[in-house]
């Protein structure tokens, strides 16, 4: 088998100029773009549908069928029509912002410690960090609930935030570590050599250099937090977040306002990506040509 394949492989360059090769090449020409297009469609169709049905004008409660274009859901008074949905949105944003800030700070410190120091328990910590990512959310949700109940913590926004910080930290550590493990620690030595105390060295050298990793981690866990349903549902008590509200509403029909809020959140993310790409381009264009000598 192997020898035949090898022989074919060896002979192939000779055949490359021969006519029979041509149709195959033509077939390849549309195959790759078509395949790529399908994968991209697979990724983006759900988002497109969400955005589209934010402009739908359904007659009844169900927003499943296209019944005409309207902008009325973008009118602030209609958009904020359901007070409990507004509360859920505010809760979701509060939880996401607070848990992102805390988890990112804690996770970054863990990532720095893991890459900078060799301490006892380092490898078990490295492994343990994957546990929250690998365990089923139901398990995490139930165990947290059991914990809160057994130590008498009243369920509510605070328990949701604690739960979200818990599952976010691992993602932050993994993301930031990708950045810190390539970090040249001579740079910190150099900062110290030039008169910077460790605090100054961190903020003027280490932090700016690992910031892209921290930012990426922050965005990732913000996204994880704002759409978490399973863990939140166990630990919410009376509080409602957007996913909980939408799930509750789905039995009686999800109003187009939810689509609009989703679209706005999505646009915010898109705007950020565009701005950062544009700034990257500008920095490249501004840089003077590379000189040698």
């Amino acid at each position: 088998m192997a020898t035949t394949t090898e022989r074919i492989a060896r002979r192939e360059p000779i055949d490359a100029t021969a006519p029979p090769q041509k149709p195959r090449k033509r077939r390849k020409e549309w195959l790759l773009p078509a395949y790529t297009g399908l994968v991209i469609a697979y990724l983006f169709v759900p988002i497109a549908i969400m955005i589209l049905f934010g402009f739908n004008n359904p007659a009844g409660r169900y927003n499943f069928q296209w019944e005409g274009f309207t902008l009325k859901w973008y009118n602030p008074t209609t958009l904020l029509e359901y007070e409990d949905l507004n509360d859920a949105l505010i809760n979701s944003l509060t939880v996401a912002i607070v848990s992102t800030l805390i988890a990112t700070a804690l996770g970054t410190l863990i990532a720095l410690a893991l890459t900078r120091h060799r301490f006892r328990g380092r490898s078990s910590l490295n492994l343990g960090l994957f546990l929250p990512m690998a365990s089923p959310e139901v398990v995490l949700g139930v165990s947290l609930l059991a914990l809160f109940v057994s130590i008498n913590v009243p369920l509510g926004l605070v328990t949701i935030i604690i739960a979200h910080i818990m599952f976010s930290i691992s993602f932050v550590v993994v993301t930031v570590k990708a950045r810190t493990s390539g970090f040249d620690h001579n740079l910190e030595d150099a900062a110290g050599d030039l008169g910077a105390d460790p605090w100054t060295a961190f903020w003027t050298v280490t932090f700016p250099l690992i910031f892209p990793g921290i930012l990426a981690a922050g965005l990732l866990v913000f996204a994880l937090s704002i759409d978490d349903y399973v863990i939140t549902s166990f630990n919410a008590g009376g509080a409602t977040t957007i996913p909980l509200w939408v799930y509750g509403a789905s039995r009686i029909g999800v109003p187009p306002q939810v689509n609009v809020m989703g679209t706005l959140l999505f646009s915010l993310g898109l705007l950020y990506v565009i701005v950062s790409l544009w700034r990257g381009r500008k920095a490249e264009a501004l840089a003077p040509p590379v000189g040698k000598g």
Partner: protein, 382 residues
């Protein structure tokens, strides 16, 4: 006034001693090199002076006051790192200005000092360049400017030219020497390149396995190596076994294993009696056809057989063997077409002046003991 003093400086890592009780004094304004093979402890020594590594034992004094245990940012020392360690997120100006900003120097002064320093390192107008747009040689200069702009009492350089190609390295050697003259700062320079150390330094410490083998001016270290390691590390050398025969005032006589007796100044003997190694540099040896030996022969002479002669343009090198089988290499400068090459198989007379003869202690390979004595002696010499 001494600028640096090291006393019994020692660094032990878990399983090994990287720096082993070194003593050293470096005077203000000196260009001092630490020379030794890779892994001998040069970087560790430098890192202890810079404050990045705490010594296991010993003391470090800078400008008369003890700094042992002080963190780097409290020492008036700057370092040019082996990999430059330039800040990639800052442009050239901000890299060079980093130390001045930490010292809260006024903005205008920072600007003019950075400008002036970039002129000195021959990078005028490069303030706004990003680090990744610079060539290796340019990065090296920025690293130098970033350190020197702080006007430290002492500059530490860890193989700063190691990453550059040969031609650029030669240019930068001269540049560094010029800059050191201009700014008048004490340089402690780490290198494993003996030629580099010799061309640049006022004094050299030859380091081996964590200790100093010899400390001295380049000429002294080259002409009069004190140990077998030094004689082998700095250029080629010939070592012959012998036993001290007599010490008569300023002159000593040593009976070589191969039969002849050679003379040398008595103060070069590491011991007063017993077995020693007698050395002579290849270019110091005069070579003649044994059958045609004449008055141009020098006082110390041995017989040998030419095994191979190699013409290299500026010189011819002869690989010879003595009667007891020891190899001896001779370099003869090509002074003109008249100098006739001596062919392989010729019996020759090799001779040299007692003045050009050096002696090293014979170290029995298995014993560590003699080595330590040699080190102690070097310490005394410093």
């Amino acid at each position: 006034m001494p600028d640096i003093r090291l006393e019994g400086l020692t660094k032990e890592f878990k399983e090994m001693v990287a720096v082993d009780h070194i003593d050293l004094t470096i005077e203000e304004g000196e260009f001092f090199s630490l020379l030794g093979p890779s892994g001998c402890g040069k970087t560790t020594t430098l890192r202890m002076i810079g404050g990045f590594e705490d010594p296991t034992e010993g003391h470090i004094y800078l400008g008369g006051s003890e700094v042992t245990g002080l963190p780097p940012y409290k020492r008036n020392v700057n370092t040019v790192f082996q990999s430059y360690a330039l800040f990639p997120h800052l442009n050239v100006h901000d890299n060079v200005a980093y130390g001045l900003k930490r010292k809260k120097v006024a903005g205008d002064e920072i600007k003019s000092r950075v400008h002036e320093m970039l002129d000195i390192v021959d990078l005028p107008g490069y303030e706004q360049r990003r680090i990744n747009q610079l060539s290796g040689g340019q990065q090296q200069r920025v690293a130098l400017a970033r350190a020197l702009v702080n006007r430290p009492a002492l500059l530490l350089l860890d193989e700063p030219l190691g990453a550059l190609d040969l031609k650029l390295r030669k240019t930068m050697q001269l540049e560094l020497k010029r800059i050191q003259g201009d700014v008048g700062i004490t340089f402690v320079y780490v290198t494993h390149d003996q030629e580099e150390a010799m061309t640049m330094s006022n004094r050299i410490a030859v380091m081996n396995a964590g200790h100093f083998e010899q400390v001295g001016a380049p000429q002294d270290v080259y002409e009069l190596p004190a140990t077998e390691f030094v004689s082998g590390f700095l250029g080629a050398s010939n070592l012959l076994e012998g036993e001290i025969e007599s010490v008569n005032g300023p002159t000593a006589k040593v009976a070589l294993e191969l039969g002849a007796t050679v003379a040398l100044p008595a103060d070069r003997l590491p011991t007063r009696q017993g077995r020693i190694g007698i050395g002579v540099r290849p270019e110091k040896i005069h070579i003649q056809d044994a059958s045609a030996a004449d008055a141009s022969s020098r006082a110390n002479a041995i017989e040998a057989m030419v095994r191979m002669s190699t013409y290299t343009g500026v010189s011819t090198s002869y690989e010879c063997r003595t009667s007891d089988g020891s190899p001896v290499v001779v370099y003869v400068q090509n002074l003109g077409s008249s100098s006739v090459s001596i062919g392989a198989g010729t019996r020759v007379r090799l001779s040299w002046d007692p003045e050009h003869t050096f002696a090293v202690k014979r170290v029995a390979k298995a014993e560590d003991d003699g080595d330590k004595t040699a080190t102690a002696m070097e310490g005394a010499r410093t």
